[in-house]
C-alpha cells in the first residue's frame, strides 16, 4: 500500500498500525487517560485554539518564512531548494510549537510543575521558556554527557529559571534523560505534567506532539503553493525522535505525489554500528512507552548510539515514522557526521544561515541528491533549528578553543 489518502492515525489506543500504543508502568495509565481526554476537549475548544494561535503568532513569531535558497540551488545544480525556516522560531527551533501547546494543556489541568527531557537542549530551552512565561516550575532532565557538549543551552535554561538535572545513569544521553523524567513523573503524578519533546512516548504523546508540530507543514504547504503554484516533489527533514519531520510531513501525507524523506543520523557510517538510525538498521521493540524501531541487540538491550548532533542521538524513533516506513509512504535515509558537517559549512557560506547540526543532516540529503534532480523539481527542507548551540562542537572539530 502506497496510498496515504484518508490517512487517520492513530487509533483510539494510540496505535499506528502495529506501532505506538501505551507500554508504561500502571501508575502512569490514569494520567495518560486524563491527558488524552483533556487534549480531545482542548482540541475542539475554540478558545484553546485561539490562545494557541495567538501565542504562535505573537510570542513564537509564526508563520516562519519559506525561503528559496537560490545560491544553494545553484551550487547543487539541480532541484530548486526551499528552506522552511524553523530556525527563526523564538528559542531557535521548531520545538517551541509543541511546548507552547503542552504548557497550555498543563495550565488547563491546573498542574503547577512541568518536567522535560532534553538531548541537544532545544526542547529543554523551549520548555523552560514557556514555563517561565506561564509561571510554572520547570525541571529538565539532561544526560550528563549532553550537559557537557551543550553547555550554552544548559546556561540558557538556568537563566530561564529552570532546574537542569544531569542524568548519570546508563549512557548519560537523551534516552537516560527520558528514563529519569518518567521516574520523576511516576513519583509526582499529581502536580506534574511531563512535556515529552518528540513524537515518541506512550499514547497520547506521539499524537499530541505531532499535532502541535504540524503547524510547520500546514504553513509550508500554503507557502509553497503561493510561491510556486504547486506542491514540492520532495520534503526532507532530519529524524531523531522525529518531531520536526512529522511536523512537516503530516499536512502532506495525503498528497501521495509528494515524496517524504526522513534523514537519520548515520554517525560514523551505518556499517560502523556507531550511528543513531533505527529505521535503517534497527529492530522492532518497546522502549519509552511505545512500540517502534529501536537500536537494540539480540538480547533486547538498547544500544549506545552515536551522532555528532545530540538531538539525533536517540536509539528509538516516533512510532508514526515506523508506520510510514512500513506502508511505504515515507522513506528513511541517513547522513553521516561528516556529510552533516559539510552541509553545515556549505549553508553558512552560500546562504549566510547557521543551521543546527540536526538540520544539517536533512541538508546533507539535498547535497547528495539535489544535483541528480531536474531544475523543474522542488525540494523543501525543514531547517528545524539554528546552530548557535553547536558552535562549541564545531569549533572543537576545527581544533579551536573558544573561551
Amino acid at each position: 500500500m502506497k496510498d496515504g489518502s484518508n490517512y487517520a492515525q492513530p487509533d483510539d489506543q494510540g496505535h499506528f498500525g502495529i506501532y505506538g500504543g501505551r507500554f508504561v508502568a500502571e501508575t502512569l495509565t490514569h494520567a495518560l487517560d486524563n491527558l488524552a481526554q483533556l487534549y480531545a476537549e482542548a482540541k475542539s475548544d475554540p478558545e484553546f485554539k485561539r490562545e494557541l494561535q495567538a501565542d504562535l503568532m505573537h510570542y513564537v513569531g509564526r508563520p516562519t518564512p519559506l525561503y528559496y535558497a537560490e545560491r544553494l540551488t545553484a551550487e547543487l545544480g539541480g532541484a530548486k531548494i526551499y528552506l522552511k525556516r524553523e530556525d527563526l522560531n523564538h528559542t531557535g527551533a521548531h520545538k517551541v510549537c509543541n511546548t507552547i501547546g503542552q504548557a497550555l494543556l498543563a495550565k488547563r489541568m491546573g498542574k503547577p510543575r512541568v518536567i522535560a527531557e532534553t538531548g541537544a537542549g532545544q526542547h529543554g530551552v523551549a520548555s523552560a521558556t514557556v514555563a517561565a512565561r506561564l509561571g510554572l516550575q520547570c525541571d529538565v532532565y539532561m544526560g550528563a554527557e549532553d550537559v557537557e557538549r551543550q553547555s550554552l543551552n544548559v546556561y540558557r535554561m538556568k537563566l530561564l529559571g529552570a532546574n537542569v538535572i544531569p542524568v548519570e545513569s546508563g549512557s548519560r544521553t537523551l534516552k537516560d534523560a527520558m528514563n529519569e523524567a518518567m521516574r520523576d513523573w511516576v513519583s509526582r503524578i499529581d502536580d506534574t505534567h511531563y512535556i515529552i519533546g518528540t513524537v515518541a512516548g506512550p499514547h497520547p504523546y506521539p499524537m499530541i506532539v505531532r499535532d502541535f508540530a504540524a503547524t510547520i507543514g500546514q504553513e509550508a504547504r500554503a507557502q509553497i503553493l503561493e510561491a510556486e503554484g504547486r506542491l514540492p516533489d520532495t520534503l526532507v527533514a532530519c529524524v531523531g525522535g522525529g518531531s520536526n519531520a512529522l511536523g512537516l510531513f503530516y499536512a502532506f501525507v495525503d498528497d501521495v505525489d509528494v515524496a517524504l524523506v526522513g534523514v537519520e543520523a548515520g554517525g560514523l557510517g551505518l556499517a560502523s554500528g556507531a550511528h543513531a538510525a533505527p529505521l535503517n538498521e534497527g529492530q522492532v521493540g518497546v522502549l519509552h512507552g511505545n512500540k517502534t524501531y529501536l537500536m537494540s541487540d539480540a538480547d533486547g538491550q538498547i544500544q549506545a548510539t552515536h551522532s555528532i548532533s545530540a538531538g539525533l542521538d536517540y536509539p528509538g524513533v516516533g512510532p508514526e515514522h515506523a508506520y510510514l516506513k512500513d506502508i511505504g509512504r515515507a522513506v528513511y535515509d541517513s547522513a553521516t557526521d561528516e556529510q552533516a558537517m559539510q552541509a553545515f559549512r556549505l549553508l553558512n557560506r552560500c546562504e549566510g544561515i547557521l543551521p543546527a547540526l540536526e538540520s544539517s543532516h536533512a541538508l546533507a540529503w539535498a547535497v547528495a541528491n539535489a544535483g541528480t534532480m531536474s531544475s523543474e523539481q522542488i525540494v523543501l527542507i525543514n531547517l528545524s533549528g539554528r546552530g548557535d548551540k553547536d558552535i562549541n562542537t564545531v569549533a572543537k572539530i576545527d581544533g579551536i578553543e573558544l573561551t
Binding site: 489506543q13 500504543g21 501505551r22 507500554f23 508504561v24 508502568a25 500502571e26 501508575t27 502512569l28 495509565t29 490514569h30 494520567a31 545513569s169 546508563g170 534516552k175 537516560d176 528514563n179 518518567m182 521516574r183 511516576v186 513519583s187 509526582r188 503524578i189 499529581d190 529492530q283 522492532v284 521493540g285 518497546v286 522502549l287 519509552h288 512507552g289 529501536l294 537494540s296 541487540d297 539480540a298 538480547d299 533486547g300 538491550q301 538498547i302
Partner: protein, 266 residues
C-alpha cells in the same frame, strides 16, 4: 495446580500466613551469586522468588535496582543466562515458584520465550511496562503453558480499571503501594489496607503488595493487610555490599529474609 497456586493454598492452610515474595536481580552483584542466593532466600523463609531480568533502560526502578541492572549487564547477563539460572535452581528446588520480572523488550527479543521459560522452570512473569491491553498474545502464550502473567495495580488505578486488570491477571495481583519507583517513599499502611480490601472484593486472586517495603517494621504493617508482600530494593542493596563474597552474601541474605518472614508471621 501451578506452583504459585500451591504456595498460596499451603499458606492458607497454615492459618492464612502472609507470603513473603523476594526480588533480586539475576547476575547481581556477580553471576555466581544468584542461584545460591535463591536457595538462601528459600531457606530464610521466602515463599516466592522474583528474579529480575537485567535491562539497559529500567524505567520504573529506583537507584538500587538501576545499579543492580547495570552491574548485572556489566557481568554479561542475558535472558538466556537468566533462564539457565532458573534451570539450575530447579535441580534442587522443584517447589518454590520463580517469577521473572523485567521489561517487555527483553522478552520480545527472544524467539519462543514462553516455551523456553516453561522448560527452564519459570512459573510466571511480571512485565513492568506491559499493561493488559497490549498483552493478549503473551497472555495466551503463557496460559497455554500454565504460566501466569501477573499485572500491577497502582494507587492511581481507577476501580473500573482495577476490575479489568484483575480479570486479565492470573497467579496473584501485584499492588504497587506507592506512586513512585521501586525502593522509594514511605508506605501508608492504612491506605494500602483499603485498596487491598477493594481488590479482594472483586476477585479471588491473592494480592501481594510491593514497592517501598524496606524492613521488618513495614513488612509487618503491610503484611497484616495483604496476602503477600514483596521486598526487592532492600535485599538488592544488601547483596551489593557482598560483591566479592558469595558465601557471606548468602548468610546475610538468609538472615535478612528470616527477619522479614518472622515479621509477617508475627
Amino acid at each position: 495446580m501451578s506452583r504459585i497456586q500451591d504456595t498460596f493454598a499451603r499458606l492458607e492452610k497454615a492459618g492464612g500466613e502472609t507470603a513473603l515474595v523476594t526480588f533480586v536481580t539475576a547476575g547481581d552483584p556477580g553471576v555466581a551469586h544468584t542461584v545460591p542466593a535463591m536457595h538462601a532466600m528459600v531457606t530464610g523463609g521466602a515463599d516466592i522468588l522474583e528474579l529480575g531480568i537485567p535491562f539497559s533502560d529500567p524505567e520504573a526502578e529506583g537507584p538500587a535496582i538501576q545499579l543492580a541492572n547495570e552491574r548485572a549487564l556489566a557481568n554479561g547477563m542475558t535472558l538466556n543466562k537468566v533462564l539457565a539460572m532458573v534451570e539450575e535452581f530447579r535441580t534442587k528446588d522443584s517447589v518454590t515458584p520463580v517469577i521473572l520480572m523485567g521489561y517487555l523488550n527483553s522478552v520480545l527479543a527472544m524467539p519462543n520465550f514462553a516455551e523456553r521459560a516453561k522448560t527452564a522452570g519459570v512459573d510466571g512473569l511480571i512485565m513492568v511496562n506491559l499493561p493488559p491491553e497490549e498483552s493478549v498474545e503473551l497472555t495466551a502464550d503463557l496460559a497455554a503453558r500454565n504460566m501466569d502473567l501477573i499485572f500491577l495495580v497502582s494507587p492511581t488505578t481507577t476501580p473500573d480499571r482495577a476490575e479489568y486488570i484483575l480479570s486479565r491477571c492470573s497467579g496473584f495481583v501485584y499492588y504497587v503501594s506507592l506512586k513512585g519507583i521501586t525502593g522509594s517513599g514511605n508506605i501508608q499502611a492504612d491506605e494500602v489496607a483499603e485498596r487491598v480490601a477493594a481488590l479482594k472484593a472483586v476477585s479471588p486472586l491473592p494480592v501481594c503488595v510491593g514497592f517501598g517495603i524496606k524492613d521488618a517494621r513495614t513488612a509487618a504493617a503491610v503484611g497484616a493487610h495483604a496476602d503477600g508482600i514483596v521486598v526487592g530494593s532492600a535485599l538488592v542493596k544488601l547483596m551489593g555490599e557482598y560483591a566479592e563474597d558469595v558465601e557471606q552474601c548468602c548468610v546475610k541474605l538468609q538472615a535478612a529474609v528470616k527477619d522479614l518472614k518472622q515479621a509477617v508471621v508475627d
